[in-house]
């Protein structure tokens, strides 16, 4: 308790003025782990939205697609195109993974930007997009890492590791480093963008409640979509990169 009263005062004062909560979480204790419950709640919500809409849309499939089915087929086509352009010929098995990444991130981001989560008050922290939390994005990025390692190893076997000394063995450290920077950049990019979007909106709202935040919110929507696309594209590109060059 070495915090000086002065700093506490200023902190408290700032906190009261801005009303912006950063780094506050609503914790659940599950099996010795402290879990960010607000992320789990919004994630479940996003998952429910996705699964529910998909189930409703493809409950009664038609040859000539009706509205919902048509929309989801369009989305699927989009994801398949994306996977195909990034991965190449053998994109088939990776469409579900890429699609899951894209849809989860996209719906998460947009739910954070469009739904009035703040109506529901939590004991601590506040509900926001699941991708607003570094844990979610790191989990997604690590999944991507695991996916591209699996893709490379299952395609080439142990000769997959030849790529580390591919141009010259001098690049070995950099190539190894790349395996760490990839998930790092993926997770931080997504996390930073979404958090920044939401923060900007929250700050603007706390300053000028009406009208002024609207353009920024649209910008946030745009960025959110772009971020989801970037994440999916990069995941697909990494997978494709680890599978290419097989003889």
């Amino acid at each position: 308790m070495n915090i000086t009263p002065c700093s506490i005062k200023t902190l408290k004062g700032l906190y009261d003025i801005s009303g912006v909560e950063v780094g506050q979480h609503f914790y659940w204790q599950i099996g010795g782990f402290q879990i960010h419950a607000q992320v789990l709640i919004t994630s479940w919500f996003v998952i429910t939205i996705l699964l529910g809409s998909v189930i409703i849309a493809v409950r009664n499939p038609q040859t000539i697609p009706t509205d919902g089915q048509n929309f989801f087929e369009y989305v699927l086509e989009f994801i398949r195109d994306l996977s195909k352009t990034q991965i190449g010929e053998e994109y088939g098995p990776w469409v579900p993974f890429i699609g899951t990444m894209f849809l989860f991130i996209f719906v998460s981001n947009w739910s954070g930007a469009l739904l009035p989560w703040k109506i529901i008050e939590l004991p601590h922290g506040e509900l926001a997009a699941p991708t607003n939390d570094i844990n979610t994005t790191v989990a997604l990025a690590l999944l991507t890492s695991a996916a591209y390692f699996y893709a490379g190893l299952s395609k080439k076997g142990l000769s997959y590791f030849e790529k580390y000394i591919k141009p010259t063995p001098i690049l070995l450290p950099i190539n190894i480093l790349e395996d760490f920077t990839k998930p790092l950049s993926l997770s931080f990019r997504l996390f930073g963008n979404i958090l920044a979007d939401e923060l900007v909106v929250v700050v603007l709202v706390s300053l000028v409640p009406l009208v002024v935040p609207i353009p920024v919110m649209f910008l946030g929507l745009f960025t959110s979509g772009i971020q989801a696309l970037i994440f999916a594209t990069l995941a697909a590109a990494y997978i494709g990169e680890s599978m290419e060059g097989h003889h």
Partner: protein
């Protein structure tokens, strides 16, 4: 001051039990802005999405129609081909039948001709045989006659004497005379 410190310590620990609630402050929850954003999004997004989906649907429809047409064309061709096949089969049957009857007729003709020629041959054979027989009989007859004549000549030569000579002449004269007399 102590209170604040306490609250900070409290914050640092973050208790797990708490209360959920509804934040009814419209400005703090950013409801109006969100409504505007969602409204604008729906207003503009709907048209774009509708166009997009309609286009897609039209594309699917036209693709289906095209393939239906292709299928129909193919079916028609199949039907035509089947009809032609039937016709050709019929023709082939006809030809086969014709061929069979032709062959049958040819066979019959051939058999007839052969039998006729056979009959002729038989007849000529018979005739030949008959003539041969006739000739043989004639030869035999001739030979027998010759022998008989020779025998008679021998007999005549051996037992012809004057008295017999005269008697014969006389008999002949008598016969001739009787003929003359009758006349």
């Amino acid at each position: 001051m102590k209170n604040v410190t306490h609250s900070f310590v409290f914050l640092a620990h973050w208790p797990f039990a708490g209360s959920f609630g509804l934040n009814t402050d419209i400005l703090a929850t950013n409801l109006i802005n969100l409504t505007v954003v969602v409204g604008v999004l729906i207003f503009f997004g709907k048209g774009v999405l509708k166009d997009l989906l309609d286009n897609r649907k039209q594309r699917i429809l036209s693709t289906i129609r095209n393939s239906e047409e292709l299928r129909r064309g193919t079916l028609e061709q199949l039907e035509k081909a089947r009809i032609r096949l039937q016709k050709v089969e019929l023709e082939a049957d006809e030809y086969r039948m014709n061929g069979y009857s032709e062959i049958e007729r040819e066979k019959e003709n051939l058999i007839n001709a052969t039998s006729i020629s056979l009959e002729q041959l038989e007849k000529s054979k018979n005739e030949t045989l008959f003539y041969e027989k006739q000739r043989a009989m004639n030869q035999v007859r001739q030979r027998v006659f010759q022998q008989a004549v020779q025998g008679a000549l021998g007999t005549l030569n051996s037992c012809l004497n004057t008295e017999l000579h005269f008697r014969t002449i006389r008999a002949n004269i008598g016969i001739l005379g009787a003929i003359e007399w009758k006349r």
